[in-house]
């Protein structure tokens, strides 16, 4: 028979051992979790906008928006200000600039006289500039008056949603496609650019797709 005092002593010792084990396990668990958290923090990937465009909303800075470069320019047939049908295929073998614009767009009207100058400058290289109007519900004579006021004489083509979709246009203008002699889009720009930049892209279109 074990004396009562010894049994009590054994129970107390067991209790102390149990509590110690629980505390040790808890401490180990806490350390383990802290170490895991530290590891997770070290390997955390900082998600930052790919460009300032993500915060500024300026699509001209968004490289992801440029999707047509390297592809064949989608074919189209549109009507010009005189009601004449104009197809991209009419200019096969020549470098072509397709400039999407609208009468209400200040940056577009800034670029357009530069395109006119550059078309004149590179006329002997076969350069063609086409202005694809994006106004909705505007009378033809108003578009004609606007393009005359801007000072362009290159063909202005009237809107067609199918063409805008085939060129994957965003909800903004100007947007310009530089097509080489083989019909491939060698560059695509969003927003107004300086005359020097336009000329560099035109030279790229002239120099590419040799036939």
């Amino acid at each position: 028979m074990v004396p009562l005092s010894v049994r009590r002593l054994a129970i107390v010792a067991l209790l102390i051992a149990g509590v110690t084990l629980i505390v040790m396990a808890g401490t180990h668990n806490l350390r383990h979790r802290q170490a895991e958290m530290q590891k997770a923090q070290q390997s955390e990937v900082q998600l930052t906008p790919a460009s300032s465009a993500a915060t500024s909303g300026d699509p001209s800075e968004d490289p992801a928006a440029k999707t047509m470069k390297g592809k064949a320019a989608p074919s189209f047939t549109l009507v010009d200000l005189n009601g004449k049908k104009v197809s991209l295929a009419d200019y096969k073998g020549r470098p072509v600039v397709l400039n999407f614009w609208a009468t209400y767009c200040g940056p577009c009207k800034l670029e357009m006289p530069w395109f006119q100058d550059l078309q004149n400058k590179y006329k002997d290289k076969g350069l063609v500039v086409l202005g694809l109007d994006q106004d909705e519900g505007m009378a033809v004579n108003e578009v004609a008056a606007a393009s005359k006021r801007v000072g362009v004489t290159y063909p202005i083509l009237l809107p067609n949603d199918k063409v805008s979709k085939s060129y994957e246009l965003g909800d903004y203008i100007p947007e310009t496609f530089y097509v080489d002699k083989s019909g491939k889009i060698v560059d695509e720009t969003i927003g107004a650019h300086s005359k020097d930049e336009l000329e560099a892209d035109i030279q790229k279109a002239i120099g590419s797709g040799g036939m």
């Binding site: 909303g57 300026d58 767009c105 200040g106 940056p107 800034l110 606007a146 927003g191």
Partner: protein
């Protein structure tokens, strides 16, 4: 007037949501709008006739009468690439003063703000922002 709707995806939002006026008399209320940072819209009197002016089209509730609207002057803005001309635009917050006669009690001033937004390099198609302001006449 307290803050109203969340920023509008069209780059302009209406800040006004409620006004209190003296009933039965011409009262001027200010409708507050805000253009998103980095963007501008043409003022009510843009310098170029081809540009789309900012304008309110109000449809007052029954018993309410809109007497007139007064638009603020725009500020001068030059596109970074433009060495010549300037634009007359609204940027940040702008307020249109509307003189109206409201009935006693609660009514609503509704309408549309027509505008066209651009940033430094691109322009967006013309848009309309719904306007809805609670008017309480005392």
């Amino acid at each position: 007037m307290g803050p109203a709707a969340a920023p509008h995806k069209g780059h302009v939002e209406l800040l006004s949501d409620a006004v209190e006026v003296k009933a039965g008399e011409p009262e001027v209320v200010e409708l507050r709008f805000r253009v998103e940072d980095g963007f501008h819209i043409n003022s009510h009197t843009p310098k170029d006739e081809l540009l789309i002016a900012t304008a309110l089209q109000l449809s007052p509730a029954r018993g309410m009468k809109v007497v007139d609207e007064q638009y603020p002057h725009g500020s001068t803005f030059r596109l970074p690439l433009d060495s010549g001309g300037t634009l007359d635009v609204y940027q940040g917050e702008f307020r249109v003063s509307v003189r109206l006669v409201a009935p006693k009690g609660s009514s609503t001033l509704t309408g549309l703000l027509k505008y066209q937004a651009c940033d430094n390099a691109v322009c967006y198609p013309p848009k309309t922002l719904p306007v809805m302001v609670a008017v309480t006449g005392h």
